[in-house]
Each structure stands twice: as C-alpha cells, then as structure tokens.
C-alpha cells in the first residue's frame, strides 16, 4: 500500500511531468472545441448589427422576452420533453418489472430492442415518414384495411397530430434504453429485502412501493437525467419528420435556433437563445445531480 502510494503520487515537479503530458492534448482539444466556442458565442450574443455598424449590448437577450416564436418554441420543448419522458419512463419501468425474470429467448429480445435506439436519428426520421405517410404509409394502409376512416389521420402533416407523432417516435426509439437501465438496476437489488418483505407478509404492491422503488431510485434518477438532457435538445428526428411544421406546430428550441442562425443568418440572436437552452439544461441537470447525491451511496 505504502509503495503503491509512492508509485502514483506526484510529490515533486518531475513526477507531475508525465500526467501533465498525458492530459495536455485532451485539455487543449476541449479548450479549443468547447470553451473557446462558448466564449465566442457569448461575444456574438452581445453584438447587434445596425445601420450604424455593430453595437454592443444586451439587445439580443431583451428581444427574447417579446419574441412569441421563441416563447412558443420553449413551450413546445417542454411539452415534448415532459410527455416523452413520462411515457418512456412508465413503459420502460413496466417492461423491466415484467421481464426481470428468467425468460426464454431473453438474449434475442434484448438484441432486438437495441435496434431502434442505435439507429441514426436521420434513419429514424425516414422510417417514420414512411410509416406515417397519410396516403401510402403502412399505418394508415393497415387501418384502412380493417375499415377505419383515415381521412383525418394525416399525422405529421396535421397541426393537431404532428406533436403527438414526433413524441411517439421518440418513445419508440428510447423506451428500450430506459428499460435496459432499469433492468440493470433491478438486477443489482439484493434478495434480502425481498425475503424480509415476504416474511412480513407484505403484498406485491407493498413490496414494490416500499422495497423495489426506493432501491431502484438511483437508477431511475440517472436514466431520467440522461433522457431529460436529450429531450430538451431534440433536433434531428423533428427536423427530418416535420422541419418544425406544419406551420410552427412542432418547432422546438433547437430547431428555432437552427433556423435563426442558418436560415436567417442572425447569429447573435441564435447565440442568445442557445444560452437560454444551456441555462435550462444546466439548472435541470443540477437538480437531478443534487437528488442523486442525496441518495445513500
């Protein structure tokens, strides 16, 4: 133990040289590709182009509060994130509880569930455009076959159903991930608490509520954190499926930032909006991390 500490500790400057050399390239890359862009982004968010030239100020941030498109996109982002999170969590937990047993063909099942979540998001978009196409998509085609009138079911082309459609696609792709993490969590729970509950004669529901759920809480928090971060920044599938439309019906904040920067070339305003998104994800992840750290071990 004594020896091991001496081997790895950096007691003098010579000993620091090697780890410093090992760390330098990584830190340089991250400074250049994460920190510098962030600073660059701050400076452009503080600039506005006017007839008199570039002026500095908080104009871009002030605009946010009166921009109804921005506020609507923010609202869409929350609706999207919360609905998808709730569905994915409940379905994933249900499946994990149901399948936390020895089951024949479990390997095949696991492997098949991996497919949706590993697909490129562009391919997910293509897959579901084909499924949801109102005229020859397989969903409406199959519904027609069993005698359902599909005239009003235009899915991604309908202002009412478009949001529902993009949420369903996210649930399709990411429920397996929630399921796999929660299954791993369930299998890490020791048997003793269950035996104790059995001896106490508690019902299934009581066992679930007082034994399983508290012991699964760390896994639940981690998977909710990871999904929330991804959902708040969603871009790819919605871009392919609806491009934020029809009209503005599925425009989330990432799509609106993209449009502002790369269609209207208003980089300063786009940067200002991106800081709102960054602040939002930071605050929410900080809350989750606080909760995770409050867990024993």
């Amino acid at each position: 133990m004594q020896k091991s500490r001496r081997f790895f500790s950096a007691l003098n400057k010579r000993e620091l040289l090697l780890p410093a050399l090992f760390l330098a390239p990584a830190l340089a890359v991250l400074l250049a590709l994460s920190i510098y862009p962030l600073i660059y982004s701050i400076t452009i968010s503080l600039q506005q182009e006017t007839v008199a030239g570039i002026t500095w100020g908080l104009g871009n941030f002030a605009r946010l509060f009166s921009d109804n498109f921005f506020l609507t996109a923010l609202g869409h982002t929350f609706i999207y994130a919360i609905s998808a999170l709730v569905c994915e969590f409940l379905l994933g937990l249900g499946l994990a509880l149901l399948l936390n047993n020895q089951i024949r063909g479990r390997g095949v099942f696991r492997a098949s569930l991996l497919i949706p979540m590993m697909l490129p998001s562009v391919v997910v978009g293509v897959v579901w455009r084909l499924m949801l196409n109102p005229n020859f998509g397989s969903i409406n085609g199959t519904l027609k076959q069993i005698g359902i009138n599909t005239e009003s079911l235009t899915w991604t082309a309908s202002p009412k159903l478009a949001m529902l459609s993009v949420i369903a696609v996210d649930v399709w792709q990411w429920t397996p991930f929630v399921f796999l993490v929660l299954l791993a969590g369930l299998q890490a729970i020791p048997q003793e608490p269950y035996e104790a509950a059995l001896i106490d004669g508690s019902s299934r529901w009581q066992t679930f509520w007082h034994v399983t759920l508290p012991l699964l809480k760390p896994s639940i928090l981690i998977v909710l954190l990871l999904r929330t971060m991804d959902l708040l920044r969603v871009f790819d599938q919605i871009f392919i499926l609806t491009e934020g439309g029809p009209g503005f019906a599925t425009e989330t904040i990432s799509l609106y930032i993209y449009r502002t920067a790369f269609r209207f070339f208003d980089f300063g305003y786009a940067a200002a909006m991106s800081f709102v998104l960054l602040a939002l994800t930071n605050v929410i992840s900080a809350i989750y991390i606080r909760l995770i750290q409050a867990e024993p071990n």
Binding site: I44, G94, L95, I115, P120, V127, V181, F239, A271, S274
Partner: protein, 292 residues
C-alpha cells in the same frame, strides 16, 4: 438463489395468478418486439419494392417482388457512394484521434494523484463539456470553421467529432483503468519498465475489451451524428450519409426507394457494432454511470 426465492414468493400466491403473469409477460414481450422492429422492417421492404408496390393499397407487408434498382440508383447513379465514403473516413479518423488523446488523459486521471484535487475537478469538467446541447456549440463552431476556411471539408468534421467523443472516451476509460488492480503496473516498474512502457505493455492489453467497446461507441456516435454535419457540410464532396439522406427527404419527397435504400445501408455498420458491444451497452449509453 434469486430464482429460488422468487419461486417461493410466487408459490405463496395463487397459481392462477402466476400463470396469468407469465402469459402477460410473453404478450408484452411479443408486443414490444413487434413495435420495435416492424417500422424498420417496413423501411427495408420499401427499399426493395418497385415503385408500383411502394404505393400499393393495402400495403404489402410480406408478399412483393424484390428489386435492387433503388440501391443501384442511390449508390451508383446518385452521389450516395461519395457520402458513404465521407462518413467512413470521418468516423474512423475521429474515433482514432479521440481514442488516443482520451486514453492518455484517462490514464493520468485514474492512476496519478494530482495536486489540488485535480483528478476529480478535471474529470467533472471534462464530463460537463459533453453536456452542452449540440446546437449551443454548433453556432460558434460554424463561424470558427468559416473563419478557418474549413467549411465543407472532411477535416472540419473530424476535428469536431474528436472533441465531441473525447469526454466520453475519458470517462469510459477512466472507469476501465480504475477497475484494474495497481499491482500489475508496479510489478512492471520493478522489472525495470518505464511508466509509458508499463502502460503500453501491461495495462493496455488488459483493458482491450473496454477500449474496443469505447471505440465502437465512438464509431456509432460519429456515424449517426447529424446536426454538426448538417451545419458544417453542404457540398457533395464533404457531405456525410445522414446529411445526404436528409437532403433527399426534404427536396425530392417522391424518391422513397432511393432514400430507404440509403437509410438501410446506413444501418448495416450500426447493427454490427451494436451487437458487438451488447454487454457494455448500458454502461456506454450512460457515460459509465450505470455498470449494467
């Protein structure tokens, strides 16, 4: 042990109840399988159907005459062959860079006691850079690449993906290094090896499975990446497969076969990769937070 307790638990309940549960279990299993796979299968059939059968009603799920014309059309007649090549080059190059740079940093963080609690602080800082939403850095990176005259080059994507994958490599490899006992390196050092020698000859061979799994994850992420590729490359010479596919979706709505063929090809490497890292999947997707 586990199953025995569960069996006892089940036998305490009514037998009918457990039978109903077992049935429910298999129904859920089959429903989940169908729900996961049917949409992907449908896309594969579209890529193999003639245009007449693509638009047929009722939709032919199983019986149709397969054709490879859309694959020929996409990869020979149109530019998808180039996009495929760009995707492959960018994916492999950025993964290699991220692995080399990230593994060195991970080793330093896992094995050296740095002053000022830097091990923990640097690790958390590196992790936090991965948490930025992509669109936040996409805007300044576009402007930076424009200033450097690197827009529409493969180099720009290799650089950006290296930075994107780096935090992931550091976190995963830090975990794999920490799982190894330290005695092995000490023995190598006693035998007169240098620390670098100990890393290359003793430690790396032992973390090869972890390194391979990490590499596969980087390959998947780079292969699938869309937003940076969309922002940084708009010409045929530097466009990746996802951007090429997305362009067809929005421009030529009618060419479903070409689009499906390209998308089906884009899936192939991912399937191979994903199945090869099944064991590490949960750990990888949660940045090492869950060791499932």
């Amino acid at each position: 042990m586990r199953t025995r307790t569960r069996e006892k638990y089940q036998s305490a309940n009514k037998l009918a109840h457990s039978k109903a549960t077992a049935l429910l279990r298999y129904v859920a299993l089959v429903a989940a399988l169908l729900f996961s796979l049917a949409p992907v299968y449908w896309m594969l059939t579209i890529s193999l159907k003639t245009e007449v059968e693509q638009f047929a009603s009722p939709p032919p799920w199983f019986v149709f005459t397969p054709t490879l014309e859309h694959y020929y059309d996409a990869f020979v007649a149109r530019g998808f062959g180039d996009y495929l090549l760009t995707s492959a080059i960018v994916t492999v190059a950025s993964t290699a860079c991220a692995l080399i740079i990230g593994t060195l940093a991970a080793y330093a963080l896992a094995r050296f006691e740095l002053p000022w609690r830097l091990n923990r602080r640097l690790s958390l800082w590196i992790l936090s850079t991965r948490m930025f939403p992509a669109i936040v850095t996409a805007v300044p990176l576009f402007l930076m690449m424009r200033d450097l005259r690197l827009l529409n080059t493969r180099a720009s994507l290799i650089i950006v993906y290296t930075g994107f994958n780096l935090p992931f490599v550091v976190w995963m490899m830090r975990g794999f290094f920490a799982d190894l006992p330290r005695d092995l390196e000490e023995a190598a050092l006693v035998d007169g090896d240098s620390r670098l020698g100990a890393l290359v000859r003793v430690v790396l061979p032992l973390v090869t499975p972890g390194l391979a799994a990490t590499a596969v994850f980087c390959l998947i992420v780079s292969w699938n990446e869309f937003l940076f590729a969309l922002v940084l490359t708009q010409t045929d010479a530097a466009m990746t497969l996802p951007v090429g596919i997305a362009g067809r979706v929005t421009q030529y709505e009618i060419k479903w076969g070409v689009m499906s063929a390209a998308a089906s090809v884009a899936i192939i490497p991912i399937l191979v990769f994903a199945l090869s890292v099944q064991k590490y999947l949960v750990r990888g997707l949660s940045m090492g937070a869950v060791k499932g």
